[in-house]
């Protein structure tokens, strides 16, 4: 689906943001893209969608350079940006005018998503609240059924019930052909949704592993004081010391994304070595 090979990119020719970046993303996965502010998440997404052109290397979507922006590539790609733009027209009209560009758009799905998000189908886009606008755009994006769906901070501006609805709707819109990438700062919003984690740090992809693989190698739990020295990473929580431990078969369980992310920021090399071994 997405093949990035030796990608070099920088907004200024003097300072490259990505140098020889390699990444492969496949259909049938929901990827969580994590990274600190300024790590290059949005820039990576821009390169994937053809909104920015690599200085060197290649970035291909379904075998075609995304920078060519071919209609055949674009009709299988949808990006929900962090800051959305909506024209001053009713939702129905927007769908009537825009949906024909996406051959797999499903009107019934769109109506259902709007209903689940509690967005009035007859509303005028620019007169909805920001949260409602985002929900309308997310509904449209999911209903396009494009092979590649990218969402940049999709839960920004959504209230707590809507975040839960979002996870439910994304899960229902997913199929084995589709590749969904969700970029966010809010790791809790990805809980029980993503199956693969991609972490960008210091302008490099420091992790691209399935949660199953991570789960096989590490356990995330409250640890005792004497376990600290064996922990790959630990931090104080209200309930005790939360630790990331090398895998212990009997205690394998849910991956704590926040703990893993913090561990990666601090002990990235140690984790990578552990995974590679």
């Amino acid at each position: 689906m997405i093949e990035i090979t030796n990608l070099n990119f920088g907004y200024s020719s003097k300072k490259l943001l990505f140098e020889n970046l390699n990444l492969k993303l496949k259909g049938g996965h929901i990827y969580g893209l994590l990274g600190q502010n300024g790590a290059g998440k949005s820039t990576l997404l821009k390169n994937i969608t053809g909104l920015a052109f690599p200085v060197g290397g290649s970035c291909k979507v379904n075998g075609v350079e995304s920078s060519r922006r071919l209609p055949s590539t674009l009709q299988e790609l949808y990006l929900v940006p962090e800051e959305i733009y909506v024209p001053a027209i009713p939702i129905r009209k927007y769908v009537k005018l825009t949906a024909p560009f996406y051959p797999k758009f499903n009107q019934e799905q769109f109506d259902n998503y709007l209903k689940e998000f509690d967005v009035p189908a007859d509303g005028k886009l620019d007169q909805l609240s920001l949260g409602q606008q985002k929900k309308a755009v997310l509904s449209f994006a999911l209903a396009t059924n494009t092979e590649l769906l990218i969402m940049d901070e999709p839960t920004n501006g959504l209230d707590i019930p809507s975040k839960a609805q979002f996870r439910k709707i994304v899960a229902s819109a997913f199929d084995s052909e589709r590749c969904i990438i969700i970029s966010t700062h809010q790791v809790r919003d990805l809980d029980n949704l993503i199956d693969t984690l991609v972490v960008v740090h210091d302008n490099k992809v420091v992790l691209n592993k399935s949660l199953d693989e991570i789960d096989e190698n590490f356990s995330f739990r409250i640890i005792e004081e004497d376990e600290k020295e064996n922990a790959i990473y630990f931090e104080d929580h209200l309930s005790g010391i939360a630790g990331m431990m090398p895998h212990q078969a009997s205690k394998a369980g849910r991956v704590d994304l926040e703990l893993l992310f913090n561990a990666l920021m601090l002990n990235g090399t140690k984790i990578q070595n552990h995974l590679n071994n």
Partner: protein, 270 residues
């Protein structure tokens, strides 16, 4: 699938562009012609404004140039703002289709709509109101010819090419700059003309070997020595030279601006 141009996608994009912008376009036209009608009413009440069509022509030309270039300078503005640029760039249409819509609206549809509506308004003012003495305080002797432009009016041959040149420049500026396109394009044009005036004497000297001082662009060169005009019209452009220059400026330049604008659109990044 044709990735370069599809009439079906073009039609869908035309419908989308029109529907999303129709309200804004109609409101703008309403305001524009509201102002024009005010100007014409003022002239009508003065009478002389209609006796001599110079002033009506001036209103037509000034508003055509102003409104046309402002419209053209805004045509690519969705590609300049971060929020709307994302949607505009990744919409599944080819670059040529997106460009064609912008070109069609700014270089053809707007000027045509303006000319048609202006002529309708002018017709009502000249042939219905003025001819029948409505709103005219003092009717002087009857005027034979009330047409805005007669068929042999030389001004038409000047206004149209100059408008095409300025309009294509604004179109180019609209994609070349990301914001304040109209102001930046205007600034660029002024700077270019200023530099041309500054360097014109040097260019003439290079060709003629004669030292010249202040010189009007594209005019004849008179060489004075000891207060006498010794070499009158050393460089007096012939009709053919002027024609070639006119064609270069008014045909080649707009085509060049349109081509560069297309390439700028292709290269537009976020």
């Amino acid at each position: 699938m044709n990735n370069i141009f599809s009439f079906n996608r073009f039609a869908m994009l035309f419908r989308k562009h029109t529907s999303e912008n129709l309200k804004f376009y109609l409101m703008s036209l309403f305001v524009l012609f509201g102002i024009i009608i005010l100007f014409l009413t003022f002239q009508l009440m003065q009478d002389v404004g209609f006796r001599n069509n110079d002033k009506r022509q001036a209103v037509f030309t000034v508003f055509l140039f102003l409104a046309g270039t402002v419209f053209s300078s805004l045509i690519f503005s969705p590609f300049g703002k971060k929020t709307s640029a994302t949607q505009s760039i990744i919409l599944p249409c080819s670059k040529l289709e997106k460009y064609s819509i912008a070109w069609l609206y700014s270089q053809l549809i707007f000027p045509l709509v303006y000319i048609i509506i202006y002529y309708l308004v002018d017709y009502v003012f000249a042939f219905k109101l003025y001819s029948n003495n409505h709103f005219v305080p003092v009717q002087m002797s009857p005027v034979q010819n009330l047409e805005l432009f007669s068929s042999d009016d030389y001004r038409v041959r000047l206004i149209i090419p100059v408008f095409i040149f300025l309009n294509s420049l604004s179109f180019f500026g609209s994609i070349f700059f990301r914001n304040y396109q109209y102001v930046k394009t205007g600034f660029g044009l002024i700077l270019f003309v200023f530099l041309l005036i500054m360097f014109n004497p040097f260019i003439v000297r290079m060709f003629s070997g004669v030292k010249v001082r202040g010189l009007v662009l594209f005019s004849q060169v008179n060489v004075f020595r000891h207060g006498f005009n010794l070499e009158n019209a050393l460089f007096s452009p012939s009709t053919n030279v002027m024609l070639a220059l006119g064609i270069f400026l008014l045909v080649f330049t707009p085509v060049m601006f349109w081509i560069i604008a297309y390439h700028k659109l292709r290269e537009r990044e976020l």
